[in-house]
């Protein structure tokens, strides 16, 4: 078996970039990739963004690689970039970076308001009487007891998630959800998102 490394795997800020060699047969590439992934499965597993950079790749072989990545790494975003094309400078940019986000490591208390054009991540609680307004997503690593408004400019694809999701009121885009009068403490992290024009809440690990 050929021991030579034909495939180059690069870790980048946006995710993984896999460079496929130009003058090697696909079967060999595929085998090597399979071996490499198996060898480093633990290390690579769960990486959400992978970019495949190639020079020649048939649609059929693309699918093969996609299904391999999905099977081995449970990768969500797979992008293909053709290196042979002229603007190969954009190769590493094929993964669209997320919007900017604000990270706060504190508890947001009654009367405090956090507004941000982007997503908000809070390591701490958001107490009743506090307001968190983001144009993007809201992630609370703690209890959310106050008001949270994700997608404040109308983006209903935004989500709100918290370890203890028990807000007085939730807003996503132009939708408003009011907490039930008798709310019980959630025992697991939950995520709120809009589905068919209403805000639905479900366990985060679903």
């Amino acid at each position: 078996m050929q021991e030579k490394d034909n495939i180059i795997i690069k870790g980048k800020k946006e995710g993984l970039e896999i460079l496929l060699p130009a003058k090697v047969s696909f079967d060999m590439i595929f085998n090597e990739l399979q071996q490499k992934l198996e060898k480093n499965e633990v290390f690579f597993e769960g990486l959400s963004n992978v970019c495949i950079s190639y020079t020649t790749l048939s649609a059929q072989n693309r699918d093969k690689i996609s299904s391999l990545l999905k099977e081995k790494l449970r990768t969500i975003n797979i992008t293909f970039a053709d290196r042979s094309k002229k603007d190969n400078k954009n190769v590493s940019n094929t993964v669209v970076p997320n919007k900017k986000s604000l990270y706060l490591k504190e508890t947001i208390r009654s009367g405090q308001r956090v507004e941000y054009d982007g997503s908000i991540i809070i390591l701490g609680d958001v107490n009743a009487g506090a307001e968190i307004i983001a144009t993007g997503d809201i992630l609370i690593m703690g209890a959310l007891r106050g008001l949270a408004h994700a997608g404040a400019l109308g983006d209903e694809k935004s989500i709100v998630t918290a370890i203890e999701l028990q807000p007085v009121q939730l807003r996503i885009g132009n939708l408003i959800a009011v907490s039930p009068d008798k709310s019980s403490k959630s025992k697991y992290p939950e995520i709120a998102c809009s589905k068919n024009g209403t805000i639905t809440i479900e366990p985060l690990d679903k």
């Binding site: 508890t107 947001i108 208390r109 009654s110 107490n127 009487g129 209890a143």
Partner: protein
């Protein structure tokens, strides 16, 4: 080193003044020299709770305006030497004193006393800002009620915005039998929301009302609430005192119930 402690709560009627009076008196019993400062201008109460109302000649506003020296306005307690009260003016309002003036007054008191206890008015406006202007640390008093805890949370946020980062919490007027029934917020629930260290718990006690009316702080008595205040005083002085088992009350009630059942 003297310490300036502000007693605050946001909501009114949760026991700021009672707590100020009792902690001040308790610290004096422990041998410290203490000044109590009432900053609730226009709605002064601390003098009444201390039973010193009739001795007021000058007040905080007089000191600030230069009408008198600070030692002329300080009222010596009738029971304990080493305990002094700087009363608030009753006929003026909060705007009569500024934050800067407050800092000057507190700085003067700091030189003479081991502890300066500042009784803060309810609310988050000018009076609150005056009271916390020169404080080193804060004690937040709350009762196990959703509205009071909400206000306490707001206050903790405001304190931290003013640089008082780790206030301590006193949960007042807790009724164990109601907590047991699930009708009252428990200590754990309250701490869970506020997330600041607990300094003490005071059980609901009718004797507090009686002692306030009489102008005699309960901390000197043998009642349960008095004991609770004495424990808090020791904790302020840096001693490690275990929290009182308020469930004891429950035991007593249950015993009584059993007695009647027989």
């Amino acid at each position: 080193m003297s310490e300036v402690i502000v007693i605050t709560s946001g909501k009114g009627g949760v026991g700021k003044t009672t707590t100020s009076a009792n902690l001040g008196t308790g610290l004096v019993i422990e041998g410290k020299k203490v000044a109590l400062v009432d900053t609730d201008i226009g709605l002064r109460n601390l003098d009444v709770v201390m039973g010193l109302e009739n001795r007021i000649v000058y007040d905080l506003v007089d000191v600030v305006e230069g009408t008198c020296k600070i030692n002329q306005a300080l009222i010596k307690d009738k029971r304990y030497s080493g305990l002094y009260l700087l009363p608030a003016a009753q006929t003026r309002d909060k705007m009569a004193v500024s934050e800067e003036q407050m800092k000057v007054v507190i700085a003067e008191l700091r030189e003479q006393f081991d502890y300066v206890i500042v009784d803060c008015p309810a609310g988050i406006e000018h009076g609150f800002k005056n009271a916390i202007a020169a404080a080193d640390s804060a004690i937040v008093v709350t009762i196990p009620e959703v509205s009071a805890v909400r206000d306490a949370d707001r206050i903790i946020g405001l304190l931290s915005a003013h640089g008082i980062t780790e206030p301590k919490l006193i949960i007042n007027r807790i009724r164990p039998e109601m907590v047991k029934r699930g009708d009252m917020m428990s200590i754990e629930d309250t701490l869970d929301i506020l997330g600041i260290p607990l300094l003490g718990i005071i059980p609901e006690d009718e004797n507090i009302i009686r002692s306030s009316n009489l102008g005699e702080p309960i901390v000197t008595s043998g009642f349960k609430a008095g004991m609770a205040y004495r424990n808090i005083v020791k904790r302020i002085m840096g001693q490690e005192i275990p929290f009182m088992n308020i469930e004891d009350d429950l035991g007593f009630f249950n015993k009584l119930k059993k007695l009647f059942k027989k």
